[in-house]
């Protein structure tokens, strides 16, 4: 089940370098602190929940989500490059894990 409130937004962002009309695909990289690493942010959120009247959440972890608009085909090669980018740059693998996936 998925509830989506997001509107698409590809057209007029300042940094866009793709000419209009060229198809772009979205790849999402999720970066989360490794499970054994302290996540003070997630903890603070979790502690606040009961006060706000939300019960029944056993744990909260907070991480980062990167949405990448990729020019050209998102093939094996492209994904491998993004994988490498995530590993060397988007995530700090000393303390973080990441996943890469094509957004459907």
């Amino acid at each position: 089940m998925r509830v989506d409130f997001r509107t698409r937004y590809c057209e007029d962002t300042a940094l866009r370098t793709t000419p209009p009309g060229v198809p772009v695909a979205r790849v999402v990289v999720d970066v989360m602190l490794k499970p054994e690493i302290l996540d003070p942010q997630g903890q603070a959120v979790q502690r606040a929940l009961p006060r706000l009247g939300f019960e029944g959440i056993a744990d909260v972890r907070q991480g980062k989500r990167f949405e990448l608009e990729v020019e050209g085909p998102v093939d094996e090669a492209a994904l491998a490059r993004i994988q490498e980018m995530a590993e060397t740059f988007l995530a700090n693998t000393v303390i973080e894990d990441f996943t890469v996936r094509v957004d459907s």
């Binding site: 003070p40 942010q41 603070a44 959120v45 606040a48 006060r51 706000l52 907070q62």
Partner: protein, 226 residues
């Protein structure tokens, strides 16, 4: 009897003691208020000081906004009680929707601490009558989430209604839209700004200027004359 100005302490508030000092320097009585207490102890006005309440985790001001004391503050502010939010306090006020818009990470992504020049655009709010409209003042600025944003319609409305209370001069320090450093609500009793007037009330300390004292003398006059 002098006026009583409440200063709220949330977990992670940093500038509560400085704000209390500024209130005293201006000649009012500073009343410490605790986030878990709904009771405002019959204060005449409230200041939400700067800091990193709840570590600024989630979003600056987001968790504090749900504290018991804020229930009363929101209620009283709507009824006209003067409320000043400084830095993190401003963030709590936008999160509480007492002031429109929101605050995001600075456009350069760094914490910035500097002496900041401002123009007082609105000298009619509860907290600014001791300034004159157009007056230029310098007070310390220090934050990482200081970029004020709102949609165009809101910005136009703020401009049209004279609710942009302070604007950055000599360079926008964080990418705030329309150089906005602080705003007021429609009634002029609720004011929020990112720079720190409470750090500019003594000649020797900080930047060595007292340009911020006017916030505290303004409110004192208003309360005394009320």
């Amino acid at each position: 009897m002098t006026s009583r100005i409440g200063v709220i302490t949330f977990p992670g508030t940093l500038d509560d003691r400085d704000t209390q000092r500024a209130v005293r320097v201006a000649g009012a009585e500073a009343v410490p208020l605790w986030h878990r207490d709904k009771d405002l102890k019959q204060v005449d006005a409230v200041v939400l000081p700067g800091g990193f309440s709840y570590g600024d985790y989630l979003r600056a001001g987001a968790i504090s906004r749900f504290s018991p004391v804020m229930e009363t503050v929101i209620e009283q502010a709507k009824a006209g009680m003067p409320v000043l939010g400084i830095c993190n306090g401003f963030q709590v006020l936008t999160e509480s929707h007492l002031l429109p818009g929101g605050m995001l990470r600075n456009n350069h992504l760094h914490f910035i601490c500097r002496d900041q020049k401002l123009r007082v655009e609105n000298a009619d709010t509860a907290w600014t009558t001791d300034y004159t409209a157009g007056q230029e003042i310098s007070v310390p600025l220090k934050n990482i989430d200081g970029r004020y944003v709102a949609d165009e319609r809101t910005l136009d409305m703020l401009e049209a209604e004279g609710r942009v209370a302070f604007r950055y001069l000599d360079g926008n320090p964080n990418g705030s839209l329309r150089d906005i450093a602080g705003i007021t609500n429609e009634a002029g009793n609720v004011v929020g700004l990112m720079p720190h007037p409470e750090h500019a009330v003594e000649p020797l300390i900080g930047t060595g200027r007292t340009d911020g004292l006017g916030f505290f003398t303004s409110i004192l006059k208003k309360l005394v004359n009320a």
